[in-house]
């Protein structure tokens, strides 16, 4: 112990949570989470992002103590917690539908965790009032949860999960039930609270824009596998693979063969065209790959311009903040490419020929 403790701390003094080779299977053979290695830093806002069935919620439930890993360890503050029941983990949890207790008033709901920590009487009242003030619900303590709006209920759930100052707060798609405007306001509010209080939050969502808005880092899940763990910008600009590139933001994909020639990475297309790009993760030569280009990174020039790839305009839509153009590219095997142009850019009429500019630093050659 005396030997181990400093070692562990030295290994990841900043890591509040460590998933170490964690696996989870419900039926004994299908793995819902496969070999997960992931560390959550103290004070960090980390989002688990992925489509439904990707294993992100199971991961959160294992961390919360509601599911046990089939293999591997989860360390909380350096100590393994697999055998620890949820109530002993000191983790605040905000659920998808808030899970407020309908038979208790708002104040009773918020006071609930304090009761189990021996905080009673005047001190409890004071802390409840403070927590409600913090989520701008001072004076609502006497109401029943059912008398509140969705956003207000959401904030009560937040106050309840924060009032006992847990070392970690987990949130399971907490904003899913709110309308778009309210959701965006709450995203910012939660982010502000997290920054002011300096708490660690692990947040689960399937909404990539929510993940990008709020997170310090995002862990993208697919098929029970952690695909990429990175900051929002990195995730967007340097997706590790086609899934991440497609799930986070919009992308155009063209099948290709990866080739490294000298310092340059090349994408060889079936039509014989070779494009120079970047390779965020090194791929072996002649590997099957995808060329991924964000629609807003593509330029549209007159037909025949130098270095441009010929295309035919199929359709164009004016969308206010940008114009979206679909163009057919013979060199891509007749595939359609989507282009987002600034709203003021003139667009040739459908059927017209044009040229595509594909900047080298935005052409990502990634694993399919």
């Amino acid at each position: 112990m005396a030997l181990n403790a400093p070692l562990l701390r030295a290994k990841g003094a900043d890591d509040l949570v460590v998933f170490d080779g964690v696996q989870k299977s419900y039926d004994g053979h299908t793995l819902v989470v496969r070999d997960l290695n992931l560390a959550v830093k103290r004070g960090e806002f980390l989002t688990l992002l992925g489509p439904s069935g990707s294993g992100k919620t199971t991961t959160l439930m294992m961390l919360g103590g509601f599911e046990r890993p089939t293999a591997g360890h989860i360390l909380l503050d350096g100590k393994p917690v697999e055998a620890l029941p949820p109530e002993k983990r000191d983790i605040g949890f905000v659920f998808q539908n808030y899970a407020l207790f309908p038979h208790m008033s708002v104040a009773e709901n918020v006071a609930f965790p304090l009761r189990y920590r021996g905080v009673r009487g005047a001190e409890a009242r004071q802390r409840v009032a403070k927590a409600l003030d913090m989520v701008r619900l001072g004076g609502f303590g006497g109401r029943r949860p059912t008398q509140l709006s969705g956003g207000q209920q959401q904030r009560v759930a937040l106050a309840r999960a924060l009032v006992f100052q847990p070392k970690l707060v987990l949130m399971d798609e907490p904003l899913g039930a709110l309308d778009k405007q309210l959701r965006e306001r709450m995203q910012i509010e939660i982010k502000h609270l997290q920054q002011t209080l300096g708490i660690t939050i692990v947040f689960v969502t399937h909404d990539q824009s929510e993940a990008l808005t709020m997170s310090d880092r995002v862990a993208v899940f697919h098929d029970g596998i952690l695909q990429q763990l990175a900051s929002p910008r990195e995730l967007y600009d340097e997706p590790a693979n086609a899934f991440v590139a497609g799930f986070v933001g919009e992308n155009n994909f063209v099948p290709c063969t990866a080739m490294r020639i000298g310092p340059h990475a090349h994408a060889l297309l079936e039509s014989g065209l070779s494009l120079v790009g970047t390779m965020p993760v090194a791929l072996p030569n002649a590997a099957q790959a995808m060329l991924a280009i964000r629609p807003e990174r593509i330029g549209l020039v007159a037909s025949g311009a130098e270095g441009a790839v010929a295309c035919n305009i199929a359709e164009a839509f004016f969308l206010g903040d940008h114009t979206r153009v679909d163009a057919t590219v013979p060199a891509f095997g007749g595939m359609n490419v989507t282009i987002k142009l600034p709203p003021s850019t003139p667009v040739p009429p459908p059927g017209a020929s044009a040229g595509l500019v594909l900047p080298e630093q935005h052409c990502r050659i990634i694993a399919p």
């Binding site: 509601f66 949890f93 609930f112």
Partner: protein, 409 residues
């Protein structure tokens, strides 16, 4: 035209335009309303009126009833009343209806039935008065003030007799109301017994049904559906069949005693049937689905994240269940318990077949008075008392629990 006036016109126009739709809605609801009236309101009215109606003596002794209307009630009536009685009884003797009035008088004054019958036979043979002396010579009771007070009372169109009897009260000939002697008092203790049995059945079904509903709620849906089917299955067999099954199980040579003996739990056969234990057990079994279903339907509506939230906030498993889950099931428990309690109050077949004499409930007595004793007035009065108690309990529950604390499904 002012804005306010326009607003009022507009409101009227809206109401007018809604009227055809309302008429259609009313017509659509009409069959249900009619059914409700025929199947519920009308029988209830008949029940209430049968508990106070008093037609027998007026029918059989119409002239006497008319003559008694002027009687001062202070002393035995004079010859005209006796003459009217003689005329009435002469007719009654021919129509064989004297016993009808005799039976009614007998309720309030034991022995009057045979006195009426013999008086009717006498009147049948008599042609001329004075009748007063003739009646008193036949039986001195005809000269007693009490006899006439009772006849005058029973000749009124309505009577309190049945309702008083159902409450173990009696009315003396002079009209004063008192408790009946302890040895004749049965109905209040019967009512208490009925309430007690219903309460035990309710507690039994809740104690057994609550865990059952919970298990159905938390098992995987495929298994839960089968379990729910098993709960509902008994409802598809008739009440009589299920009760008879309990007779077979509980009887002294029955399956339960066989098992108890075989396992050596008891040395000799136990008296299980014809006992309170048997009655309550069989009723609990029969009522169980009625208690389980509302509890289950409420439990199904409680999100599993409720317990998880409580656990994550620091509550140990039991505490989370008790403080967070259980209180939310209360509307279902109250509704299921109330359904079972109220249905149990009216049980008839099960106590009759599985219970002993000390386990018979109000309905068994109602049935006896209707079928065997032809005393429909008392049967109705008992029904009225049962109805009043049921409504009172329902009202008390609503006050205590509040309508929003009860959910039937």
């Amino acid at each position: 035209m002012s804005a306010a006036l326009a607003g009022r016109d507009l409101a009227r126009a809206v109401r007018r335009s809604a009227r055809p739709a309302q008429r259609v809605a009313f017509l659509l609801g009409l069959p249900a309303l009619l059914f409700l009236f025929v199947a519920f309101v009308a029988p209830l009215g008949a029940l209430l009126s049968a508990a106070v109606e008093n037609p027998e003596v007026r029918q059989v002794l119409p002239q006497t009833a008319a003559a008694l209307a002027q009687w001062d009630g202070a002393s035995t009536p004079d010859e005209p009343v006796f003459a009217a009685l003689a005329a009435d009884l002469k007719r009654a003797n021919e129509d064989k209806t004297a016993a009808l009035a005799g039976k009614r008088l007998n309720y309030e004054m034991p022995g009057m039935r045979s006195k009426m019958l013999s008086a009717a036979r006498m009147a049948g043979g008599a042609s001329a008065g004075p009748f007063r002396e003739m009646f008193i010579a036949k039986d001195p009771a005809w000269g007693a003030l009490e006899t006439w007070q009772v006849i005058a009372r029973t000749a009124k169109p309505y009577t309190l007799y049945y309702l008083l009897t159902a409450l173990d009260l009696q009315q003396a000939p002079d009209g004063s109301i008192s408790r009946v002697d302890a040895e004749n008092a049965i109905f209040l203790s019967l009512l208490a017994r009925t309430l007690w049995i219903a309460a035990m059945v309710t507690i039994g079904t809740v104690v057994l049904g609550f865990p059952c509903a919970y298990i159905i709620t938390i098992t995987p849906p495929a298994v839960g559906r089968i379990m729910l089917l098993l709960v509902l299955l008994p409802l598809w067999t008739s009440l009589l069949v299920r009760t008879t099954a309990w007779v077979v199980l509980l009887q002294t040579d029955g399956v339960i005693n066989d098992i108890l003996l075989w396992t050596g739990l008891t040395a000799h056969r136990l008296q299980l049937i014809f006992s309170r234990f048997g009655t309550v057990t069989a009723m609990v079994h029969i009522q169980l689905p009625f208690t389980i279903l509302p509890i289950y339907s409420v439990m199904r509506g409680i999100s599993p994240s409720q317990i998880r939230a409580a656990r994550s906030l620091g509550a140990p498993a039991l505490s989370a269940f008790w403080r967070v889950y259980a209180p939310q099931t209360l509307p279902g428990v109250v509704a299921g318990g109330l359904i079972t309690f109220i249905l149990s109050l009216g049980y008839y077949i099960t106590p009759a077949l599985v219970g002993g004499p000390a386990d018979q409930m109000i309905s068994n007595f109602i049935s006896t008075y209707i079928n065997r004793d032809l005393n429909w007035g008392l049967a109705s009065a008992l029904g009225v008392v049962l109805l009043a108690v049921t409504l009172a309990i329902y009202g008390a529950f609503l006050r205590i629990a509040g309508p929003d604390r009860m959910r039937f499904g």
